[in-house]
């Protein structure tokens, strides 16, 4: 890894955090900082991506991430186009590769893809000239989520290095966890993941994290606590017996915040299940930055769109 001195963005795609250097991560966060102000103007638009075409290809339903990308694209004056699984060729049995090649024929500059299968954005990136942005692939990565989380943490704590970050929930099925682990450990934070043993993937400690099996242990001394959505429908009833029992053991309540840092912040990538992984008193409480995360998501995605489109301009 090169030291984080002036870094130039040279990647055509943003597929994950795993392959980024600390310098590249900082570059995105710094660029996001300069776009934040656009969202606070009365006229929330800059001409930066005028004439660029961005395709939002959402094979899996998403409200937050998709709206965030759309707003980011519009604020940058890009032309954008939305595909979703229902109503697109995908539901008619066309393969991902064919869908991609057809889109390619319309010469978009960037493609934002959300897909239920890990590696789908990488498959697209191998086939396409357009830059590909991963907006979440299976349980693999969700790089812009980790970037907006880091941006939010940095806004509150002024740094990432040295912080203790606890991530609690279904670690096995979470792409948010993986991207966050990569990003936070690269930037010098200490990460503890916690959850039921039945939701802890094999070998997670090899990613450079501590593993805790009680909420109290995870929360102790934490500067940041991220709660993850629990979806009983996805992992089935083999992993946890009931939502009620999960909340009793791992649900975050005010009382269970005791032991965390004084100025702890509580985060959640959404969508949130009140009373499942997090009590309303915490979600709406003084330590919560959950809605700020959503706001910063737009700035971070503007930064990513901007940096990736620049690469294409220069190499064209």
């Amino acid at each position: 890894m090169s030291p984080a001195s002036p870094v130039r963005w040279t990647r055509e795609d943003l597929l994950g955090i795993a392959e980024l250097s600390p310098g590249e991560i900082e570059l995105i966060l710094d660029t996001a900082e300069s776009f934040r102000e656009v969202g606070e103007r009365p006229i929330k638009k800059v001409p930066t991506l005028r004439g660029k075409t961005v395709v939002n290809l959402f094979f899996e339903s998403s409200t937050r991430t998709r709206s965030s990308f759309e707003i980011a694209e519009k604020r940058l004056s890009a032309d954008n186009l939305n595909f979703s699984a229902s109503g697109s060729a995908l539901s008619k049995g066309e393969s991902l590769v064919d869908t991609a090649l057809n889109l390619q024929a319309m010469a978009p500059d960037l493609i934002v893809i959300r897909h239920a299968h890990a590696g789908a954005p990488h498959l697209l990136a191998k086939k396409l000239k357009a830059g590909v942005i991963n907006a979440g692939d299976g349980a693999h990565e969700h790089p812009t989520q980790a970037l907006l989380d880091a941006y939010t943490i940095r806004r509150h704590k002024g740094r990432l290095a040295g912080l203790k970050v606890a991530i609690v929930g279904d670690i096995e099925h979470s792409r948010v966890v993986r991207s966050n682990i990569h990003l936070l450990t690269k930037m010098g934070a200490r990460v503890t993941v916690a959850g039921p043993r039945t939701m802890m993937p094999v070998g997670i400690e090899r990613l450079g994290v501590e593993v805790a099996y009680t909420l109290a242990e995870a929360v102790r001394g934490a500067d940041v606590i991220m709660m993850l959505r629990i979806q009983l429908e996805r992992q089935g009833r083999m992993a946890i017996p009931s939502i009620k029992e999960y909340f009793e053991i791992f649900g975050l309540t005010s009382a269970r915040l005791a032991g965390a840092a004084e100025d702890v912040i509580i985060m959640h990538p959404g969508p949130m299940n009140r009373g499942v992984e997090i009590a309303s008193e915490v979600a709406d409480g003084p330590y919560s930055v959950i809605l700020e995360q959503v706001t910063h998501g737009v700035s971070v995605r503007m930064a990513v769109l901007y940096l990736l489109s620049g690469v294409h301009e220069e190499t064209a």
Binding site: V97, A118, G119, A120, H122, E141, V202, L207
Partner: protein
């Protein structure tokens, strides 16, 4: 002999005599490794003759690699021709002469999935890869769960085969794991083993009955050892790399619990039990221990499990050419398998040649079918990655690819003893070749080894004393004597 092949040509017409001269003959069944010539008469091995000169051992740089033919009595062959009138000589200088290689685990896809492979293209791939015989799994469409399908496969092999074909019948009707298939009729028609490969026999009671019933016909029951509940929706080995990639994992335990269960059943039933594509350290240890108890268990491993690990899925960024069952395992498992080759626990190397159309593989990792080709890469991989680094000797490799599988399946091949069918493989252990999927004779192209440069390559095969002539490949060197 169940099959003769249609595509044999060249020297060694059934009534003639053929001398494979100047090679290094390796036959583990007779404990031979050295400068011997091989005399073939009427399609059978007539004699193995030790040479006094050591010339063949050292080898000459035989560039065209195909051996040379000298017609006995013809102008060029005057000298040797004096004593050996009407003997055709195949010069194997620089080459290893081995009993014909046998791939005991392939999918020929015929009947039913001829767009992936056929008996013709699959056996062509076999011959190109140095194999003189293959055993083909029953998961065709219709399933090979009755005599008429077995007979159909054998008839196709007789008409279009470039290698011997030994069908493996299904354990259960429709591979459904409910009722026994007509094992006796299939064996009488030529099946050499039974297996529901592609699927495990999940039902313990059915496995118990299959082991008992197969004893009547003295065929092994070959298990694709996978507990389907444990493997679930998994698409790669469960471990650090599946965690990093966010892909659903198949734990090693999915194989181990099945092997353990079957070995317990085998203690009670007797019969013969064979573990297909064994892939984990623990399963291997189970087999090793069962051997010590003298249980009748054998096992095979694939070249890809010996050469690659789960990390390859990450290194290739989700390449579906790294997706197969069992999945590429951990480095620890791989090392255990290498040890199992060396210490004799493993009986055979088998490729699990599993052709799939390029379109089927060009999809998201989760959606791609399991399986890769093997027939045209196995020998090169084994020579380059097992023999060259000294994991095993050349002689042990020949055992694993020929003598071993012949013993497991109780086939007449796997030996060059006088009187045996003259199924012979000639290969060049030093010849370098680049794997070119586009030039494969298989109908499919799904390999993770495309572009690999391997030292060691097949040169020729003989089946029943006849040299197999393959259609020309763009990339292949012209075979001499063609």
């Amino acid at each position: 002999m169940p099959v003769t092949t249609a595509n044999a040509a060249g020297p060694g017409a059934p009534s003639g005599r053929l001398l494979i001269a100047n090679g290094r003959l390796i036959d583990p069944s007779q404990g031979i490794d050295g400068a011997h010539d091989l005399l073939i008469e009427d399609g059978l091995v007539a004699e193995v003759v030790e040479r006094t000169d050591r010339e063949g051992r050292e080898g000459r740089n035989d560039r065209d690699g195909g051996g040379r033919r000298r017609e006995g009595g013809g102008g060029r062959a005057g000298r040797e021709g004096r004593e050996r009138r009407d003997v055709t000589v195949l010069d194997a200088a620089g080459l290893v002469v081995a009993p014909g290689l046998i791939d005991m685990h392939v999918h020929l896809r015929e009947p039913g999935q001829e767009y992936k492979e056929t008996v013709a293209t699959g056996t062509m791939a076999a011959a190109a890869g140095g194999f003189t015989a293959v055993a083909c799994m029953a998961n065709t469409e219709p399933v090979n769960d009755n005599r008429s399908v077995t007979e159909h496969i054998l008839a196709e092999a007789r008409r279009h085969g470039y290698a011997r074909v030994h069908p493996i019948g299904a354990v259960s009707k429709q591979l459904a794991g409910q009722e026994l298939a007509e094992i006796g009729e299939m064996v009488r028609a030529g099946a050499v083993a039974v297996s529901d490969d592609g699927r495990p026999v999940m039902n313990a009671e059915l496995m118990r009955r299959a082991l008992l019933y197969a004893r009547h016909f003295d065929v092994p029951v070959i298990q694709h050892a996978e507990d389907l509940d444990l493997s679930g929706k998994g698409v790669m080995h469960e471990g650090e790399w599946s965690t990093r990639l966010g892909l659903a994992g198949i734990p090693g335990a999915a194989e181990d619990v099945m092997v353990a269960r079957d070995l317990l059943l085998l203690e009670d039933t007797g019969g013969r039990y064979h573990v297909a594509h064994l892939s984990t350290a623990r399963s291997l240890e189970l087999v090793r221990r069962a051997r010590r108890q003298e249980l009748p268990v054998t096992c095979e491993v694939t070249p890809h499990h010996l050469v690659l690990t789960d990390e390859e899925v990450a290194r290739t960024v989700f390449s579906t050419q790294c997706k197969m069952k069992p999945p590429l395992r951990s480095e620890r498992d791989r090392r255990a398998l290498l040890a199992g080759l060396a210490d004799g626990t493993v009986d055979a190397i088998a490729s699990d040649h599993a052709p799939h159309h390029a379109d089927e593989k060009d999809v998201e990792f989760d959606l791609a079918p399991f399986g890769i080709l093997g027939l045209e890469t196995t020998l090169g991989l084994c020579l380059d990655r097992l023999v060259r680094p000294g994991v095993i000797s050349l002689s042990r490799l020949v055992e694993l690819l020929s003598t071993g599988p012949a013993r497991v399946l109780n086939l007449p091949g796997g030996t060059l003893r006088p009187g045996s069918p003259a199924d012979v493989t000639l290969f060049d252990p030093e010849g370098e070749a680049t794997v070119k999927a586009a030039a494969f004779l298989s109908r499919s192209r799904n390999t993770p080894f495309d572009g690999w440069v391997l030292k060691g390559r097949p040169v020729a095969t003989l089946v029943g004393g006849r040299r197999i002539e393959l259609p020309r490949r763009a990339a292949a060197g012209g075979a001499a004597g063609a």
